[in-house]
């Protein structure tokens, strides 16, 4: 997983760490509780399927850009899996 944070006129921060560290069955077990706070109810099994699907797509499409945000001030954030 690559996270890039670029502040307009400021430093660029690049964070690179194994996606498996975040997208695994352990994190899947925390997902239902986190989503519960957002009003989304899912079971542990559904969370596992969700993470599995994310991993499957990530492996098939390397360097997949999940999110890209550029604000009006020029700050930029990007997450690649």
């Amino acid at each position: 997983m690559k996270i890039l944070v670029k502040e307009n006129g400021g430093p660029t921060i690049r964070l690179i760490f194994p996606s498996g560290l975040v997208l695994n069955f352990v994190s899947a077990s925390f997902l239902p509780k986190c989503l519960e706070e957002q009003g989304i109810h899912i079971t542990r099994e559904q969370a596992r399927v969700f993470i599995k699907e994310l991993n499957r797509f990530r492996k098939r499409h390397k360097d997949w850009k999940l999110v890209e945000v550029r604000d009006a001030k020029g700050d930029y954030v990007e997450i690649r899996l």
Binding site: F50, E53, F57
Partner: protein, 165 residues
């Protein structure tokens, strides 16, 4: 972040799961030439651009400018359709304040999210899309529709588009 032609070639090549050798073979150039393009040491010959763009699945304009043209809705015949598991749902939000958000979600993940009972605002973070029925979008995609399927402009001036490719 400045995106150069070389970086675009590299990103698109990886998305297509191609190696530099594959591109080199298809274009009848050396793998070193492709490597130099990707490292912005040299540029591809102008005569090669249309073929390179076609291999990478973009138009020559998109390859050169990096700006993706949003194709209108197109109905793809069954024999040319991509597997829905390999399709992307792109949510593009251009806020009135000038913020731009792009979220690229695999359709397979959208299907799973929908089974979980998630709705569009939870996926996109925009209340503007609260009346958009994800089931209907999936149904359209299953029937072969691709392109700019939804475009909404809110009273605040935010523009939200849903694009399937």
């Amino acid at each position: 972040m400045e995106e150069t032609l070389g970086k675009r070639i590299s990103t698109l090549r990886k998305q297509k799961d191609l190696r530099q050798d594959d591109i080199a073979q298809l274009l009848d150039v050396s793998p070193q030439a492709v490597s130099k393009w990707e490292n912005d040491q040299t540029c591809p010959d102008i005569g090669l651009l249309p073929k390179l763009a076609k291999i990478l699945g973009v138009t020559t304009d998109e390859l050169l400018s990096g700006k993706q043209e949003l194709q209108e809705v197109k109905l793809v015949p069954p024999e040319e359709r991509k597997d829905i598991q390999n399709m992307l749902l792109r949510i593009m939000v251009d806020s009135a304040d000038g913020d731009k958000v792009r979220v690229n979600l695999p359709m397979a993940l959208v299907q799973v999210a929908m089974d979980m009972g998630m709705e569009m605002p939870q996926l996109s973070g925009k209340e503007t899309l609260k009346n958009i029925d994800l089931n209907q979008i999936l149904e359209l995609v299953r029937q072969g529709a691709v392109g700019n399927l939804v475009e909404v402009e809110s009273s605040d001036g935010d523009i939200v588009r849903i694009f399937v490719e």
